[in-house]
């Protein structure tokens, strides 16, 4: 305490220590709040532009694949996850499908969205619902093995919970099956 730098140093690092302890308490008490599982409902409205695509490389090689763009509607309620430690949610829709003959699986994300936490807790029950009507998927589903006709695909809705202090965790909210069309359209 004998010089100005010593006093400045002691005050600054004491404040840092209290902020560390308060952040750990913040993360610890968040478990006493609700950390339930949100409800979600997904309906696939249409599978558009389901074609067999072909492309030529500049050096002469040819590649071809199946491609489809989906349209869906999604309803979700995130109020069971909102607590004071939550910063934002990352919602994404994943398509999982298994090749029957060859026995391997593939995953493809077709839509994602960032949901920020609304600032005022008194409005959480009003603004926690997400409704997407006739939403076109951002990324198409491609299959280089051309096995998509008449295949059974699984639409999974995942959520990534990002807190202010603590670990980031992922949860699968729901699983919805869909039968692809028999022919290209």
């Amino acid at each position: 305490m004998y010089s100005i730098t010593a006093r400045f140093n002691q005050i600054v690092f004491f404040t840092s220590w209290t902020l560390v302890v308060l952040s750990l308490l913040n993360q610890g008490t968040a478990y006493f709040f609700k950390t339930g599982k949100p409800t979600v409902d997904l309906k696939i409205l249409s599978a558009d532009k389901f074609h067999h695509y072909k492309a030529t490389y500049y050096n002469g090689g040819v590649t071809d694949w199946d491609q489809v763009t989906f349209k869906f509607s999604l309803e979700a309620d995130f109020e069971p996850v909102y607590n004071w430690n939550l910063k934002q949610l990352f919602l994404y829709v994943n398509v999982h499908h298994e090749h029957q003959e060859k026995g391997f699986q593939s995953d493809c994300v077709i839509y994602d969205k960032i949901i920020s936490r609304p600032d005022d807790p008194s409005t959480w029950s009003n603004s926690s619902k997400l409704v997407l009507k006739n939403q076109r998927a951002e990324y198409p589903l491609k299959d280089i093995h051309k096995q998509l006709r008449n295949a059974t695909v699984n639409f999974e809705v995942w959520i990534e919970v990002m807190p202010y202090v603590g670990y980031i965790r992922r949860e699968k909210l729901g699983d919805f099956q869909y039968q692809m069309p028999q022919q290209y359209n």
Partner: protein, 94 residues
């Protein structure tokens, strides 16, 4: 510092804000911890019921900035209890 040497303006300003009484140093050492801890605990409880952690962080940082501005430099209020220095004796010791 020998007689006849003069300080520049910035160096003498630094020396002015650097030197603080021993009594004030004890006081400052006790009080900054009490102030920051009190503000941190009360704002944490308030933020818990408002469900916004940013209230707690901003008020703790604000209290620490206030402490730095008031307690770290040696303002005149911290120079009131000077110890009794002896007279300077510039003759050489035999």
């Amino acid at each position: 510092m020998a007689e006849g040497q003069s300080d520049t303006f910035w160096k003498s300003l630094y020396i002015y804000f650097n030197e603080m009484d021993f009594e004030s140093q004890l006081f400052v050492k006790r009080i900054y911890k009490i102030v920051i801890l009190t503000v941190a605990i009360i704002s944490f409880i308030i933020a818990f019921f408002l469900e916004r952690f940013s209230v707690c962080v901003y008020s703790t940082i604000g209290a620490s900035v206030l402490c730095i501005l008031v307690l770290a430099p040696a303002w005149p209020m911290w120079k009131k209890n000077q110890p009794n220095w002896q007279q300077a004796n510039w003759q050489k010791q035999k």
